[in-house]
Amino acid sequence: MSADETGGQRLYAVSRARDDSGRAGGGRAGSGGSRRRFLNWLLGTGAGAVAAAVIYPVLRYLNPPEIRESTTSQVTLSVRTDDIPPNSGQIFKFGNRPGIILRTPDGELRAFTAICTHLACIVQYRDDLSHIWCACHNGHYDLRGQNIKGPPPRPLTAYTVVVQDDKIIVSKEA
């Protein structure tokens, strides 16, 4: 144990001495210092390059591939007009996103995105309040999708509702 230590210390001392004389002496020994610097630089950039060659693919790997935004611009709902009585609402699929279709107490059909503008929970229709409500953080929207109370910072995006015969067709505003 102790023999190793002194050996190591001696080696270290020798290399230090060489370094010192190199700096002090200049000339040929100075080129030894620059050779050391060069080798250190080579080692450093080599290690850096290996690290980059590992980190870059890993970061790209972790970042999921782009899935094209749903191009759905119009859906025909599975529910019929009679299924939505006045002062009620329900969630429907608009492409791969949820939407909310509601009938106002006056009997008018309206549709909005169902994703709360606060922290992306899915909203619901509150028949006791006669407006849209998000359960997660108590956000309120009126029947036009305007944020009226609580933390939501923006209104819900409205969709266009068209009724043909008994079918409800919801589309994005052009």
Binding site: H118, Q124, P153
Partner: protein, 370 residues
Amino acid sequence: MSTTAPSPAGSIRERVLGWLDDRLGLEALGAMARKKEVPVHRHTFWYYLGGMTLFLFVVQVGTGILLLFYYRPSAAEAYESVQFLMTEVKFGWLIRSIHAWAANLLIFTLYLHMLSVLLLRAYRPPREATWMTGMVLLGLALGFGFTGYLLPWNKLAYFATRVGTQIVGSVPVVGSFLLKLLRGGEDVTGATLTRFYAIHAALLPALLGALLGVHLYLVQKHGMSVPAGVEARGGARGKRPFLPNFLLRDLVGWLAALAIVAALAAYFPAELGEKADPFASAPAGIRPEWYFMFLFQTLKLLPAHILGIEGEVVGTLGSALAAAFLFLMPFIDRRRKHGETNPVITTIGIGIIAYMIVLTYLGYTASVTQ
């Protein structure tokens, strides 16, 4: 070190131990353990909380590994596999309930451990690094809680994850990148589930294991901190050997914790709820685990806009600032280095605790529907 050649007369046990000692250096470990002492004074009780948390972590590793034998990490099968575990597998309900309850208890003892270290100022030099590794461990534990919560793929978990990841998304500049990185896409889907599974069962255990090693090493290196207040009154009453005196007391606490967790698991088994549905409204009364409650209630109370900035961005940045403040506490609280009192830090510490308690209380009592 001296037991090189075991005498032929030694028993088999001695010879085996001698052989192992020559190769592993067990004697050095034994000497270290015998040297370890715990100061005895009126605040000694708080020393038990770190060990208690460590014990609960071991419980989590054990039950977590057992859960992996039945769990299937996909949106189509996760809920059903947990349902099968809870209803069909012998003692499946017990293993999962212990995992859920011990997780809660672990966070609780971790909070207490952190607060006791904060209020007793055990982060004073030279223990700054111990404090900072502890704060990161707390962050990792909360990460365990957040990622593990999603794995049963039920409604509550689904919306908690939507909200939690959306909060990350509100971080300026890198938010949308981090959001996609966490969710594995724009929305919370099966891709999110596999990511959380990988983070919960592989990444976090590796990180936490490594950091826990550093934390425990630092605790051994510096020994237990004696509060400045105790030092001022003439120091600790005495020292108690860690082995076996303190460890045996530790064991009593661990046994009690195991009994409490088992009782809670038996009388209040973990619920599963309804399967997650990405096309259903968030249920009324939705709320996160209690240890996120004060953050949740803060988000509910923040208005839509504060000085033109969206409320949740202010909330996120505010929480990040508070966390950074706590993390850097050893460098902010400089006066304590010389044993002086620092009423400002005490006030802030008590203020943080009071805020967490009041907001948690409000989170459970405030009407959810108005």
